[in-house]
């Protein structure tokens, strides 16, 4: 393609990317480097239905002057990134010095918001992503071997978990696993323990969240793999059968290698999505047991006093986290591409 043609071809996409991806990221990065002005506090008398009281309040006029002078606020550099709500450098250093064993150090680390969020997020990513790929593949193979007439109906129903809004889907599951819900009650009955509660134990809550993650995303993997199966060369499969390959061997040596580029694609998307796990934590009311970086951003913005700088810093760290997570897959794809040309 000529450079000129390429330029005009790419321009609309490029502009959209600049406007909707690059600019917001720049704005978030800037926001994360600045913090609000020092509050100018005054004591005033405040009165209401319950009487009068001397109370601290913000001096609006003095604050307005400060804001006019420096609209962005105070420059904090990387200060927010290093504070207790994020990387907590000084707290980690203290914990390292005061801990006698690694287990104790880990205990201290788990008490800091960022590391607690990372522990759940990474566990979620590395459990859910492979399971989604395996489940997607199994469903795709099963549906592919169905009779033509049944296929349409089965595909429709298998897609439902992915079609449902994630928040609604997680709420449905949340009510089912409640100790008075159908799944929670059945589990109590099966285990013979009337106090068994999925929501009261951190371990069981993590498992519930992961089950939700697999349930929600498997249809996505299924659809991609199912499309890939339609392009499977019949002759290769037939020659494998002539060579006496079992059904498992056919899958292992013919089908999976054929679908490998799609597996990479699904893995990429799932790594990104799962790293940003959010809806089930809100839907399951699970913040006592599991938190993620996205939940931390939501929490910073949802309080009575919004912490924009803190939320922005967590957002930037999420972007960096996704980049680190994707780098092995991206490097591999790039090598394959280089190898081909």
């Amino acid at each position: 393609m000529k450079h000129r043609t390429f330029f005009w071809f790419f321009l609309p996409t490029g502009l959209a990317m600049l406007l909707f991806i690059a600019l917001p990221i720049v704005s978030v990065v800037i926001q994360s480097l600045f913090i609000p002005h020092e509050a100018v506090l005054i004591t005033v008398e405040s009165c209401g239905p319950f009487g009068c009281k001397e109370q601290t309040s913000i001096d609006q006029e003095a604050t307005a002057v400060l804001r006019a002078a420096e609209p962005l606020g105070r420059f904090a550099g990387l200060g927010i990134y290093f504070d207790r709500g994020h990387l907590a450098l000084s707290e980690v250093a203290d914990a390292w010095r005061s801990s006698e064993s690694f287990a104790e150090f880990y205990g201290h680390l788990r008490n800091l918001p960022f590391y607690r969020a990372m522990a759940f997020t990474l566990a979620f990513v590395f459990v859910v992503t492979p399971l989604v790929i395996v489940m997607g593949l199994i469903i795709a193979l099963a549906v592919n071997s169905l009779h033509k007439r049944l296929k349409g109906l089965v595909i429709f129903f298998s897609l439902l978990p992915f079609v449902i809004n994630p928040l609604v889907g997680s709420l449905v599951l949340f009510w089912m696993i409640d100790s008075r819900g159908i799944l929670g009650y059945s589990l109590q009955w099966l285990a013979g323990d009337p106090d068994l509660s999925l929501k009261a134990s951190t371990g069981l809550m993590w498992i519930s969240l992961m089950v939700y993650g697999v349930w929600h995303a498997s249809p996505f993997a299924f659809v991609i793999f199912y499309a890939g199966l339609q392009t499977l060369p019949k002759d290769q499969l037939e020659s494998a059968q002539i060579d006496g390959a079992s059904r498992w061997q056919q899958v292992r040596y013919v089908v999976v290698p054929h679908l490998m580029p799609l597996v990479t694609f699904v893995a990429l998307i799932q790594l990104m999505d799962n790293f940003r796990v959010f809806e089930p934590i809100v839907g399951f009311n699970a913040s006592a047991h599991a938190r993620s970086l996205s939940w931390a951003i939501f929490n910073d913005l949802g309080g009575e006093t919004r912490q924009l700088s803190s939320a922005a810093a967590t957002s930037v760290m999420t972007i960096i986290g996704v980049a680190i997570l994707l780098s092995p897959v991206l490097v591999r794809t790039w090598r394959d591409f280089k190898g081909k040309t």
């Binding site: 913090i35 609000p36 002005h37 020092e38 509050a39 506090l41 005054i42 004591t43 005033v44 008398e45 405040s46 009165c47 209401g48 239905p49 319950f50 009281k53 109370q55 601290t56 309040s57 913000i58 609006q60 604050t63 307005a64 105070r74 904090a76 927010i80 504070d83 207790r84 709500g85 707290e91 008490n111 918001p113 409640d178 100790s179 009337p194 106090d195 509660s197 929501k199 009261a200 951190t202 399951f284 009311n285 699970a286 913040s287 006592a288 047991h289 929490n299 913005l301 949802g302 309080g303 009575e304 006093t305 919004r306 912490q307 700088s309 803190s310």
Partner: protein, 408 residues
């Protein structure tokens, strides 16, 4: 000319005092606020005004949208319905205007106690009061031969008796969901133990102390008698447990208690046994372990004067004294409006006010403390760390946030 017409109309309406009064406005009004029954009434009555469009957006997520919706110029929302906790966020960012002039022009009929003045300027008009107080099953307490508990210690004893007699497994209810709810329960109990959230005259935290530890220990003792899922139960879920007959004693919001057993499908014994009393004290203190709240409305700063006036008139119509003649509206809340005759549902909130309950602190940095408490207490409740460590975490989380916001 139009101004005069509006003034005439509202003055006339006030004088005639008819139920369906003419409320004339000449600019747009847009209201954002919470969604409980009393606020729905205020919104609907404000919308009865004619001459300009009155929009309402009443949602439980109002706190997340009212500030961004008022920061623009012109602001999307011309009025936010807020409480003594949430007015602080709007004042911190200077998005609501003093309304002394509007009160003088159109505020006839307002009781002086309705005016929220800060530094001598009227910033909001309160229309209802709220507090958390005891809600219980009179039939169950009678069965075990116990008076309604006046202290949390009595509550624990009653709970033990109910369980021991096999009436209920988990007789205590509580909105202990991680986040805002559990932090509020901490605030109640902490104030009941005589605690103060901040060192006097500063934004330095003051919860990692004896009162804090006692507070957490009492909360933990209560959770032994709660549904094991308590960390996921907000006030709606707690009410559902009460309605289902699984809970006999709980600390509940006055604004929700009034309509608690009117829902469909509530068993008859729950409806008959339902009773309300004042808030409990704790640890031998005389101040109830609860907080007093008011709900009120504000007028946005970044709007034209005509819009501000229309907003004031519409909101006055939404909270006019004539509404107090309506029995249904009267039971929805403890109204601060002239002419309100308390109903039976109001005894809890009145008892709270008379017993010297402390109002929820209206400090610029209280919101950050509330968030820190909500995030850091659940580890202790699950037995993963000591009370001292949990309170230290609360202070550390608060300090990091307060430094970011420029309070420390």
């Amino acid at each position: 000319m139009i101004f005069e017409k509006v003034a005439m109309a509202s003055a006339l309406a006030l004088m005639t005092g008819t139920g369906a009064m003419a409320c004339e406005i000449n600019a747009r009004v847009s209201i954002v606020g919470n969604e409980f029954p009393a606020i729905q009434t205020v919104g609907a009555e404000a919308q009865a005004c004619t001459g300009g469009e009155v929009k309402t957006n009443l949602t439980a997520d109002h706190q997340e949208i009212n500030l961004p919706g008022m920061q623009g110029d012109p602001a999307e929302y011309t009025s936010a319905i807020i409480a003594n906790s949430s007015i602080v966020a709007l004042m911190n960012d200077d998005v609501i205007r003093p309304i002394d002039d509007l009160v003088a022009a159109h505020g006839q009929g307002l009781a002086s106690t309705q005016l929220i003045t800060i530094g001598g300027k009227v910033m909001a008009v309160a229309f209802m009061a709220n507090a958390q107080h005891l809600v219980y099953r009179a039939d169950v307490l009678e069965q075990i031969g116990v008076e309604p508990p006046a202290t949390y210690e009595d509550m624990l004893a009653a709970a033990e008796k109910i369980r021991a007699e096999g009436i209920m497994d988990n007789p205590v209810g509580g909105a202990y969901a991680a986040g805002w709810n559990i932090a509020q329960e901490f605030n109640n109990m902490f104030l009941g133990f005589g605690g103060e959230h901040f060192k006097p005259g500063s934004a330095e935290p003051n919860v990692a102390n004896e009162a804090g530890v006692k507070t957490l220990e009492m909360m933990k003792a209560l959770t032994d008698y709660m549904n094991p899922d308590y960390l996921t139960h907000d006030s709606n879920a707690t009410n559902a447990e009460f309605r289902a007959g699984n809970v006999a004693i709980m600390n509940m919001w006055g604004s929700r208690a009034a309509t608690l057993v009117t829902a469909e499908g509530v068993p008859q014994e729950v409806v008959d046994g339902f009773a309300i009393a004042g808030p409990m004290t704790v640890g031998g203190g005389d101040i109830p372990a609860s907080t007093l709240w008011w709900d009120g409305w504000t007028v946005a700063k970044n709007i034209s004067d005509a819009e501000a006036e229309a907003t004031f008139i519409a909101m006055m119509n939404g909270t006019r004294p004539e509404l107090m003649a309506d029995e249904d509206i009267r039971t929805q809340a403890v109204w601060l409006i002239e002419g309100y005759e308390p109903t039976e549902a109001a005894v809890g909130v009145f008892a709270a006010a008379n017993a010297g309950t402390i109002p929820y602190p209206m400090l610029p940095y209280m919101g950050l403390m509330h968030t820190a408490l909500g995030n850091e207490l659940s580890d202790y409740m699950q037995g993963k760390e000591s009370a001292e460590q949990a309170l230290k975490d609360v202070e550390a989380a608060y300090v990091a946030a307060a430094k970011e916001k420029g309070f420390l």
